[in-house]
């Protein structure tokens, strides 16, 4: 690792401020510049050891953020990933912005961290920041089994942008949280997804991403959690955080596009195969697998898994921490600015599905304490809309099948339903009953083995693995046989 660092050292010494794309006047802030100078080589070390395995010398056709203007914020070009220009970019400052919710509603937004909220804010940033490198680590071996150069490029685009999101969080920690913040920024580079001794903070970010269907599911479901969290933080009364998150959301949209279109292409290819072979019953799994397609029941099980694991990321449905963060003006609700209420919620309630005496019961909880429950509901709505777009493909092919998201209490390890056993339809049952049927709901080892067996790399220009359909349009409107990644042999 250390020998690779030296490659980057010269760029560190030469006018560093210019080398980091930024719109935060980095060159005027000596203290921050010093801190980032120390952190940057450690980040590159991390990237080289934990980023995509192989491909570090490949030329990848990536977009790079160069500005914060929504119309022209990125340029596309070939770049070697370790030389990607990770930058610090915040959405433009809105003059006269006021804190939009909570106890301080209507007061001018904070440009510095208020002392009384230091700990709370730092914790939020560390948790958010920890997820960014975690997903890169989870996905680091996928390059070896890419279904096409197009998909390989998309994977790397997602990876470098998660890297940039890590930069964004590291920037906030280093600029606004003093010595503590610097230590936390370093710790973000030291934890490792799935490592027993230094795991990432959240459970879902220690799961494996073994195959490309998992990757697409992850970017569709789990990155969507990221979107919800960022949308909530984009409302923050701490303005640098709000601006940072607003810009991150611009990038995050692409990640969900990768997931949604990826799963859509898998469905499309399966349906094409079924149509060609005259299979109309989606449950004829063996026939579909014999054709080398991803059968729809297995796909549904993957949905069940990724959906339920992602719901755990929202934390306890009824939460004191979330109440504190909202009341403090630190973290709002999903699109707070579009909600019509008093934005303080001191006397409001919100219906929360809870486990009471072994039953699922809707309970009116103080709205402040139900912030997480509400965000979870918003997430489910948002994810379900995406799932419905997949379902249109079945209509197109005239196949009677619908992907559904499981009940929110299904397969939970965190929060209200952690101790309960609930099936995909929301029926409460005993642990034994649940275990007996789990294989119908969650991917079995046989499913995983089958998916892995499909994962054969395809790296010829314009070619695609047989289990996935080509995209309708290329990246940056490039033609079908465009060489998105140049792999030197």
């Amino acid at each position: 690792m250390s020998e690779q660092t030296t490659e980057m050292t010269p760029t560190v010494e030469v006018n560093y401020a210019d080398k980091i794309p930024n719109n935060v006047n980095l060159s005027d802030d000596r203290r921050l510049q010093r801190a980032m100078e120390k952190w940057q080589p450690e980040f590159i070390d991390w990237w080289k050891s934990m980023g995509p395995d192989g491909f570090q010398d490949a030329e990848v056709y990536l977009r790079t953020a160069v500005g914060a203007d929504p119309k022209g914020w990125a340029v596309f070009d070939y770049v070697k990933m370790p030389e990607y220009r990770w930058g610090i970019l915040l959405a433009p400052k809105e003059e006269g912005r006021v804190i939009p919710f909570g106890k301080h509603k209507g007061e001018p937004v904070w440009q510095e961290v208020p002392g009384e909220y230091r700990s709370m804010l730092k914790r939020l940033l560390v948790i958010q920041g920890d997820t960014e490198p975690a997903s890169v680590e989870q996905q680091r071996y996928l390059g070896k089994t890419c279904p096409s150069l197009y998909d390989l490029r998309n994977l790397f685009q997602v990876n470098v942008e998660e890297g940039r999101h890590l930069w964004a969080m590291a920037y906030l920690l280093q600029k606004y949280f003093g010595k503590d913040g610097r230590e936390e920024a370093e710790a973000l580079l030291n934890r490792r997804s799935g490592d027993e001794d230094k795991p990432r903070i959240l459970g879902a970010f220690n799961e494996k991403t073994p195959d490309w269907l998992s990757f697409f599911m992850f970017t569709f479901f789990t990155d969507r959690d990221g979107k919800m969290q960022l949308e909530s933080l984009a409302q923050s009364g701490f303005d640098p955080l709000a601006r940072t998150c607003r810009f991150m959301l611009t990038e995050e949209a692409h990640h969900m596009f990768v997931g949604e279109s990826g799963v859509g292409r898998v469905i499309r290819r399966t349906l094409e195969k079924m149509k060609e072979a005259g299979i109309t019953d989606p449950n004829e799994v063996d026939k579909v697998r014999a054709l080398g397609g991803v059968d729809l029941p297995a796909l549904q099980r993957k949905v069940n898994f990724h959906f339920s694991v992602t719901l755990d990321l929202f934390g306890a449905e009824v939460s004191t921490n979330a109440a504190n963060a909202f009341n403090a003006g630190i973290k709002g609700r999903y699109r707070e600015d579009r909600l019509e209420d008093d934005h303080q919620l001191l006397n409001e309630t919100y219906p929360v599905l809870r486990g009471v005496d072994g039953k699922l019961v809707e309970v009116e909880e103080p709205a402040l304490n139900a912030i997480n429950a509400r965000l979870l509901d918003d997430y489910i709505k948002d994810a379900s809309a995406g799932v419905n777009r997949w379902n249109k493909i079945f209509d197109e092919f005239g196949i009677d099948f619908q992907i559904t998201v499981p009940h929110k209490a299904f397969n939970r390890r965190v929060g209200e339903f952690a101790e309960m056993h609930v099936d995909v339809a929301g029926n409460v049952m005993s642990e034994a009953e649940w275990n007996a049927q789990a294989a119908n709901w969650l991917p079995s080892q046989a499913d995983e083995d089958y998916l892995l067996s499909l994962m054969k790399p395809v790296t010829e220009k314009g070619q695609y693995a047989d289990w996935i359909a080509p995209p309708k349009v290329g990246i940056d409107k490039k033609p079908g046989d465009f060489e998105y990644v140049t792999i030197e042999s």
Binding site: K103, S119, E196, D197, K198, A323, A328, N369
Partner: protein, 549 residues
Amino acid sequence: MISFQTNPAAYQHWELAFEGPVARLRMGVKEDGGLVPGYELKLNSYDLGVDIELYDAVQRLRFEHPEVKTVILESAKERVFCAGANIRMLGSSTHVHKVNFCKFTNETRNSIEDASEFSGQRYLCAINGTAAGGGYELALAADHIMLIDDGNASVSLPEVPLLAVLPGTGGLTRLVDKRMMRRDLADVFCSIEEGIKGQRAVDWRLVDETVVSSQFPEAVKARAEAMASGSDRPSDESGISLEPLGIISSDDERHYAHVDISVDRAGRTAVVLLKGPSTQLPADLATAKQQGCNFWPLALVRELDDALLYLRTNEPEIGTVIFKTAGDSAQVAAYENFLSDHQGDWFIREIILYMKRTLKRVDYTSRSTFAFVEPGSCFYGFLAELLFAVDRSYMLDGQFEDDDTAAPTITLSAFNFGVLPMGNGLTRLQTRFLGESETLEKARSVIGESLLADAAEQAGLVTFALDDIDWEDDIRFLLEERASYSPDALTGMEANLRFAGPETMETKIFGRLSAWQNWIFQRPNAVGEQGALKCFGTGERATYDQKRV
């Protein structure tokens, strides 16, 4: 009524597991198992009910498991060690309940340290996740603290920043007095919500070692076994089973085999009568062990312990507690000599240590305490120690008219000069005669002598000797006058007069730390409508009165 009687089969919150010389005391607090409704015991947070089970477990480990030399204090929950006292419980409790809760938890932590120091049963705390507030204070009671190093687990005392109260279960005191942490670093530690993790926790002396997750269980086991190796507890003896106490109670009476409580509600007094042995002294140690929990000294101390806790918790308006004894001093002497002769045995040692702890509970009783020495009493040796624990003692000089029971005497023994120290580290007689070393020496010279009232008063061993002409009136005045004073002022006065002499960690915990905590518990900044305890969990932030007092 809150009962302190439980047993492992009835535990809701703890599990005990035994692996030869090592026991595991595992905390798995049942969320809906609170003592009263209105709060959920999430994240291994605790209330009095959880601590009653802990106290029971600590006692049973000492008596029922002589083979256990190390106790691993650990959590049954993943990534959570213990979140401390339940905040909603504190927020909704009366002041009286909070104070008594804290006192009992403090006594239990002390009893853990007592086992480590004197019983050859050392505590090892294995922190597998968040140990916050009372959770870390529980760890602080252990001899050795191991913290998992997984980037997540931390120790913290967030009471000041988060709750506007103190880490009052010994936390502040043990940081600087036991762990000998630097006070400036302790100030930092106690001012941040998020606590300290990993190597820094070792560097700051908050824990003894950190171990990565993959090696943590093995390292804990190895450490526990190493700690066990130095113990003098026997490996091959069976324990003494602590059977349920036989208690018969009515509104104003509570009877045990050797202890009777009778309550006078109008006078707001209670008499606690301790009765001497009614059975023959066992011929030898083996017979005493066969008698087990019915062996008189142990039975008596268990009952006294329960009686004190009962009065403290369930009779808050009984302001005065009067201790009396009844029985044959010679029999008491015989039993005490038996204890002396077998002090080296683990079982006898446990009984004497239990006597010591229970007498300390008398010292810490927030009631006026008196002892009356009347005909038929048996204030010998460790029972005479009660005379020096109470605020005042009254001894009848001679006999009561129309009663031919002999005039009472008191007798000192070696037990009054060493094995039953107070929290300040001194014996009660040393504390009593702090400025009179000659009086102390004189007292030592009369060990074994039956002292009549006159001699006892001369020797400074009782407050007043009264003859039967004055007895009735003086006692009535004493009790009526006492009952007319402010309970708060009395508690404060007594607590300040009882502990002359040096400070120890224990006196600081019960004196300085508890007193500040109890004051803060009364203040609007903590318990007012806008106070931190009331706001906790609602998302609303406390509003403080900014005047420094």
